[in-house]
Subunit: 198 residues, 2 copies
Amino acid sequence: MKILLAEDQAMIRTALASLLRLEADFQVTEAADGNTALKLLNHQAFDLLLSDIEMPGCSGIELAQYVQQHQLPTKVVIITTFGRAGYVKRALDAGVGGFLLKDAPVEQLVQAIGQVMQGKKVVDTELLLNSLGEQDPLTEKERQALRLAAEGKSTGDIAAALYIAEGTARNYLSEAISKLHAANRIDAARIARQKGWL
Amino acid sequence: MKILLAEDQAMIRTALASLLRLEADFQVTEAADGNTALKLLNHQAFDLLLSDIEMPGCSGIELAQYVQQHQLPTKVVIITTFGRAGYVKRALDAGVGGFLLKDAPVEQLVQAIGQVMQGKKVVDTELLLNSLGEQDPLTEKERQALRLAAEGKSTGDIAAALYIAEGTARNYLSEAISKLHAANRIDAARIARQKGWL
DNA sequence: AAATGCTAATGACAAATGTCACTGGCTTAA
DNA sequence: TTAAGCCAGTGACATTTGTCATTAGCATTT
């Protein structure tokens, strides 16, 4: 079985590739970033893409979206450090077959690969529950205002950028702060980003 | 050579341990968190401790400090995702022999282990320069005020907690914001934490 | 058709923040 | 001994933020 492993940390990538070759006799090709992975996906046919999320170039979720949009015959399994609700949701929307945390034992990864190849979905139940329980409470306007605030822009700048009044911008930010139980706008943005909502 | 590998992500730990056994015929014992690592260090003699920093229980730096304080005959090599200046400094102060990022290739890790066993220090030059270049600009009072602000406390609460006037608290926070080029106090705290200064 | 709920939008105003000019004490340099 | 620099500390005040009450439009429910 041909696997493409996309992981930017060299040490981790080599170790995982090596282990997968040992554990299950997979043919593993390595990609050090999202763009390299993308090129490889276009050059060869892989049975499965095993990808981290946060990498230089394309993220793992963007790779999954690409596979889905181009209807490549490649299953996708995500392995990541943080099981953010936003990530889980977007990954599933992008048609990934598996979503695992790096906390999981290797046996579980190997088993997940097998099940995904058989057409099953493998996502940690707890992650799913977290994902469902943590619906993104922000409206699109609140999100836009928050993003700009996180970039250090003042209320006036935010108002100008979104073509709204200052009072409106303040209200959007205030709503976001309240929904996320944050101390202020920057804190609200941090929380939203942490949950994958920004 | 007996190595203790402390890494909380099961998949990563198994993969690294497996690779180290293959690559260089090391005897690797695994610890899933800092406390387990501590117990093992007290039960057996290891030639080297290879540790992540951020783990449940003791951090990798705390483990290094323990080894130093108890003068255990165990060399320490840190491998971590983020090369924060604060981490590098504290790790070196704790007498670690090596400090590597997970970005580094496995060959570099194996080589570093060898050199550290010969009594050499192995730290990425760029990390060292970053660490030196990024001196903690905060005074102790500014740090205390920032920490409390990061916990969501108001200026009044901070003043009360530190037995200072509100104006003083505001000034400390303002100084910190200015030094770190932050948008506000919460942002300043985020930056300080990111750099290992908080 | 009317009521209800939600989002987008606004401005008044109170509260909080952040800047600034300042003082005092201590350490270091001239 | 004096000057300079830094940290700890303070309060006045301008600026910004955040809350709140409000309106309008649209979709959904009754």
